[in-house]
Amino acid sequence: MPSLFCRFILLIFVVFAVVPAFAAEEFSFDLDEFEKKSLEWGGYAELKWEHTDINANSAFSLLDSYGDPRSSLDRFTTTLQLDGNFNKGVVTCNWTVQAYAQQDQEEWADNADIFDAYASIKPTPLATLDLGKKVFKWGKGYAWNPVGFIDRPKDPNNPEEAMEGYIGVGLDLIKSLPGPLQTVALTTVALPVWRDVNEDFGQRDNVNLAAKLYLLYRDVDIDLLWYTGNSRTTRYGLDFSTNLATNFEIHAEVAHIPNQSQKLLTGDGSVAIHEFADTTYLLGLRYLTESDITTIIEYYHNDDGYTENEQNRFFQLVENADRLYQASGDDALYTKANSLSQGAYGQSQSGRNYLYARVTMKEPFELLYFTPGLTAIINLDDESYSLSPEAVYTGFTNWELRLRVSLLEGASFTEYGEKQNENKLELRIRYFF
């Protein structure tokens, strides 16, 4: 009997030891599963939990709560993104829609947006006509794109996330050539701003024009960009990227806006519109080491941003607003500060000079599909910063798990010292289908 038991144990052991080895050798590939269909669709469902410790004394906490901020906030968010396309002959219809619902201790919020929905007409590989809402994503920068003249601003903390586009008509022409100039491509876009159409782009009742000329000259990608119209002022851009070695890429962007304007809090406390010529630029690199560590570094000069002195004035205004409100209940200064915050001092990266650094290590210690990383965004003028270590695991097919911590550091009257959050812990689980 013991010998039978031993044989049984041995058999189980052999089966478990051998099956994976056989399994590994069984390769099959049924091509019928991947036949092209007219209708293709997919997307992801996401669950996110965030715990945020609030910096109760910061300017943006006071502004948000009129001097009565909470100490922490827990938020659950569920997101569903659906994308797809329908192809018939030379016409393809594409769409991406996203909906989310979130609950925290203070409120419930939900929203649904059409990120893009457009028809592409492609009579030849050389030409495409796009009609509808589309995301363009111009520029070579990873965290910021000064030349993204017809794009919404990116979130440098999540630069790879889908964004909402604008409604317009675009024509794309491509020509490949022999010789050092290998490719020439011209993209032109007409972008109207009417009632209920692209209203958040700029002034209404205008049709704006934008163009991008792309050149692949030798091994360098070059874009020349231009925008004109009455919704925003005319602007010009140039970007390039190239590989200096198999593991070393550099890129740069420069945008020039001859007539730019911004809301400014002056020394005497009044609000003025400052008009100036704006030259914003970005210099970046991407470097891969032999041990598979990817480093992205970008320097961003934001001519649209505020100097340290200008930001100090705003933070002082919020401090004064809180004193006035606590003493008398008068919220006049809070109202003024809120108005200045919107689209001006309250924008993410409202300063002048930034350094972005992101280091990720692919599959360390032979842990397949595991990628730890660290992202830093530093305001070089006031030396405040955010630091975000993270870990991403994609080992389960179609699942992505990301754990991220964000730590914000800075003295008072500095950008990151006056943000609403002190730190944040975030767990995100995403399932692709």
């Binding site: 091509l31 997919g42 590989p125 198999t246 032979e366 179609n398 692709f432």
Partner: protein
């Protein structure tokens, strides 16, 4: 006189026989390499492949790719599966490589040494051009029923500095390739297996396996399901076209 003539004849024949192995050894590595390329794939084609990463415990992760290639240095690969990667495409023009991710919405430059799929295969394995385009044959010797070619990268933009390629003498396709860094370190070994008739005269291995001392116990496999000739416009191989590669299928 007859004896003399007979001696001369014997001497000549002997000389020929003795020197013949020397001629055989004087092989043209470049010609063999070109023949290998011709036997592996047509100049312009479309192809379906499955990539399988196998972990030491036997668990697998699979990717399905659709690729098109034109001429010596133009290639595009599109991920069809799994859903998390679907729609991603990679473009290679000579030494330049870009990755397009639908959410990101614009192509970014990548390097040949990176891997968009994880595991042992890197981008240069997935977007591999003809060997004779990337490598010079430095030396060739005979080893049993194989030729052993020693190859050196033409530029430092190529992922592997040197290759040792064993080529089946009879059918002139590779059986094993060792890939070395400039430092002399063995990065990985590729094994071509299971010859299959793909039609139109193309008979070649249908499975490519790889392992690496850098990933002990891990293995990656590439299965070729379909390789057919296809005429393509040059403009298909441009950044502006990357979002539309699916339309070529």
């Amino acid at each position: 006189m007859h004896k003399r003539a007979a001696f001369l004849l014997v001497f000549l024949v002997s000389t020929v026989l003795v020197t013949t192995p020397v001629w055989a050894a004087d092989l043209d590595g470049t010609a063999i390499l070109r023949q290998v390329d011709t036997n592996l794939q047509p100049q312009s084609y479309e192809m379906y492949r499955k990539l399988i990463n196998i972990e030491p415990d036997g668990s697998k992760k699979e990717f399905v790719l659709y690729s098109v290639k034109k001429g010596e240095d133009k290639m595009v690969a599109l991920f069809l599966s799994p859903a998390s990667e679907k729609g991603r495409s990679t473009l290679r023009l000579g030494d330049n490589m870009w990755l397009y991710i639908p959410n990101v919405g614009k192509p970014i430059r990548i390097t040949s040494l990176q891997s968009v799929v994880g595991g042992v295969f890197n981008n240069s394995d997935i977007l591999s051009l003809d060997y004779s385009v990337e490598y010079d044959a430095l030396n060739v010797i005979e080893e049993g029923d194989s030729y052993l070619l020693e190859l050196k990268a033409k530029t430092n933009a190529i992922a592997y500095d040197r290759l040792k390629m064993w080529v089946n003498k009879k059918v002139k396709v590779p059986t094993t390739i060792e890939c070395y860094a400039a430092s002399g370190m063995l990065i990985k070994t590729l094994y071509y297996k299971e010859t299959k008739d793909f039609g139109d005269g193309l008979v070649r291995p249908s499975v490519l396996e790889t392992d690496s001392p850098l990933y002990k116990g891990y293995k990656s496999v590439m299965i070729y399901a379909k390789i057919t000739k296809k005429e393509l416009a040059d403009e298909v191989f441009s950044l502006n076209y990357l979002a539309r590669v699916e339309e070529l299928r």
